[in-house]
């Protein structure tokens, strides 16, 4: 779909009305949509929920979003607009899911925090719309260039690291595959999940803790694979091998699953992550043991998909 529009200021008022901030009332055809404003109390972005009408056409939607971001209606949420008041959106083009926003000269200079916050706000807000997969900023037709010459091309939401987090590390979230036990305890069940974890721990650490935590009630037919009192002492990934050090609770046979299921749930989950192809398990620092007389910990373990049940289930 190729659409080009010159932006008329007097359509503004009309379009603004179509894009309202929600009060308490719920809307019939609302999806979860957030506007990213600048937080007043500190230099970061803040999500403010908003509603979009499903019956708006794409162009109007894009304009409304921009003007909502520019409005000061978010003041009551402790936010302010990241868009400088004198900045004009000259035009926008939606070309094969790539949104190009053309701004006037008043666009803040890069690199600066105003520029970064503005760009991030625009990208993160627009990325929520269905038809948009990247957002590119241009200044009077020219690509956005930083002081040292680097050009910022089209970006998606992944271009930014934790925006809403608290503290310096905030939270990360990842889509992962978890392996739990099935009812019989002799096979593995795969579950897709998006986990959120503090930025201070690694993905592997979050995964091990998640496995120890056990399946959620929404995970049907899934059963815990590791004893509840197991504690992760340390985990690190290097050269494709993930070293996992657990405490001796691992050796308690309180879970009621076969030893293969217990260990390979861990191995399979971890090997699903980037950079990890095998896993080395140790108990209180020592790998010199054979788990349940079946699995030798002294060598690294690779994933075993034979233990899987037939159909991995999709949840979320």
């Amino acid at each position: 779909m190729r659409m080009k529009r010159r932006f008329c200021p007097f359509c503004l008022a009309v379009l603004c009305l179509l894009f309202v901030f929600p009060s308490c009332a719920s809307s019939k055809n609302s999806q979860e949509f957030y506007l990213y404003f600048k937080d007043i109390s500190r230099d970061s972005l803040k999500q403010v929920p908003a509603e979009i009408g499903a019956d708006m056409d794409q162009a109007s939607l894009i304009s409304s979003v921009f003007y909502s971001l520019k409005s000061s209606a978010a003041d009551s949420f402790g936010c302010t607009s990241p868009i400088p008041p004198d900045l004009k959106l000259l035009s926008f083009v939606l070309e094969k899911n790539d949104l190009i926003l053309d701004f006037s000269q008043q666009y803040p200079k890069a690199p600066s925090k105003e520029e970064l916050l503005l760009r991030a706000s625009l990208v993160l807000t627009y990325m929520q719309l269905d038809d948009i997969s990247t957002v590119e900023i241009r200044i009077e037709g020219q690509p956005l260039t930083a002081e040292d010459g680097t050009v910022t091309g089209p970006q998606n939401a992944q271009a930014f690291s934790d925006v809403i987090g608290r503290g310096i590390n905030g939270f990360s979230s990842s889509d992962v595959t978890l392996y739990f036990a099935d009812e019989s305890g002799t096979h593995l069940k795969a579950v897709q999940e998006t986990i959120t974890y503090p930025g201070t721990i690694s993905l592997q650490q979050a995964l091990v803790n998640r496995l120890i935590q056990g399946p959620k009630s929404s995970d049907e037919g899934c059963y815990p694979v590791l004893p509840a009192n197991t504690k992760l002492i340390s985990v690190s990934a290097k050269d494709g091998i993930c070293h996992v050090n657990l405490n001796s609770e691992l050796l308690n046979e309180s879970v009621g699953v076969s030893p293969q299921v217990e260990i390979y749930a861990l191995v399979n989950t971890l090997t699903e992550t980037r950079n990890v192809s095998s896993v080395m398990i140790s108990v209180n620092g020592s790998s010199n043991l054979v788990f349940a007389d079946m699995i030798d910990f002294s060598s690294a373990l690779s994933r075993d998909l034979d233990l899987l049940e037939n159909h991995p289930e999709k949840t979320e």
Partner: protein, 481 residues
Amino acid sequence: MKRLFKSLRSRIIFFLIVFSIVPCIVLHTGLVATFESHLVNQRLIEINQRCHVVAQELGKNEKVSDSLTTSYASVLNWYSEAYGGRILIIDQNYKVVLDTFNVDLGRECISDAVFKAFEGQEYQNYDRTTEYLEFVVPVRSQIPASSEQRISAVLILSSTTDWIMESFRGTQRIILLLELVILGIILFFALYVSYMLMQPVNAFREQLSDFGEGHRDSVPAVEGVYSELNSITDSLRMTIQRYQDIDRSQEEFVSNASHELRTPMTSIRVLSDSLIGQENIPEETYQEFLKDISVEIDREARIIEDLLQMTKMGKASDTLNIQMTDMNEFVIDLLKSIRPIAASQNVELIYESFRQVNAEVDSTKLNQAFSNLVENAVKYNKDGGYVKVSLDADHEYFYLMVADNGIGIPEEALPHIFDRFYRVDKARSRDTGGTGLGLSITRGLIQQHHGIIKVESEVNKGTTFTVRVPLKYERNEEGSV
């Protein structure tokens, strides 16, 4: 439960326990409070230093990515593992150029702390809930061809402190265990010591209970263990002695009283027997004997009257009718009624008053008291003698003196004259109709007014009674024993 706490032994136990446990708890809390912060601070200082060293190393090149050789990047990886945390380096375009977790590499970082660091502000924080130390440090590099520095990057480092909390908890567990052990020992100790301390008291208690129930006659005593118990024992002994004395004196009184009462009865018996036994007794003899019987009956009546008054005075129900009285008038009235008797005995009555005196007294009772004194002074006087009554007062008391120049009272008798039924010369007082109770009644009446009575005398020279009574009558609540 309340009853339990009233026991001295329980209190001893309670306080022993409290005052042993409280220092323990104080110590524990103090230790625990400083332990964590001490360790965290140490770590904070160490890592802070490390951060600055790394920042300096990174700042050696104008562009931080030039400083990030593969070897230095692996050093940083090592640090992050050693500290159990994460290292991030953000360049001047806000892009992540190093991430030991390999998650945010290449992304643009939006963080308030990072923006502030680019403006030169360092940040460090201990997040207790997540158990992490966080550091944000600006990296300064030299601007080429100038002596100035600019911030080319920001270093973010985090380190876990969960080991601190773990050892902290471990230590706490040990301390709690020790506290429990101490509590156990203290409890045992408290029970034992309190028992030992209470032993003498319990022994004393038993003895006292025996005594109270009449199982033993001697006053209980516990040999010299506690001075407090000793003084209690002494007071107890004195009290018991006092009651025993009172008992004895009452026995004496009863025996004296019955003796006195018997005497007139004996005379009546004798007189009437002699009348019954004889025949043909002339009428004059009947008249004479009957007169004598009548006199004896009067005497008996007087004795009984006085006895009754004595017992009445002893009771708490005997109330005084206190009125403001003009004492001068009082004395004048009093002397008026005695004048005839004095005249018939040829004794002169003199009244001396120094000032106007008004006092709160029961005039009826005082009348009786003073009449007695004046009558005695007249009775035990010689022919042509005098009785001088003088009235004086100061701001607190009034003083009444009854002085005579009569036969006097011998020295050995003086201490006893107020005793019941005591008579110096039995023969003489019987003739004059005395009951032996007069002075003790007088003294009793004066004591009811909270006054005192004193006597001075010399044989054949005379006797002086001095009475002092408070001008204001103070009502007190206790009865006197």
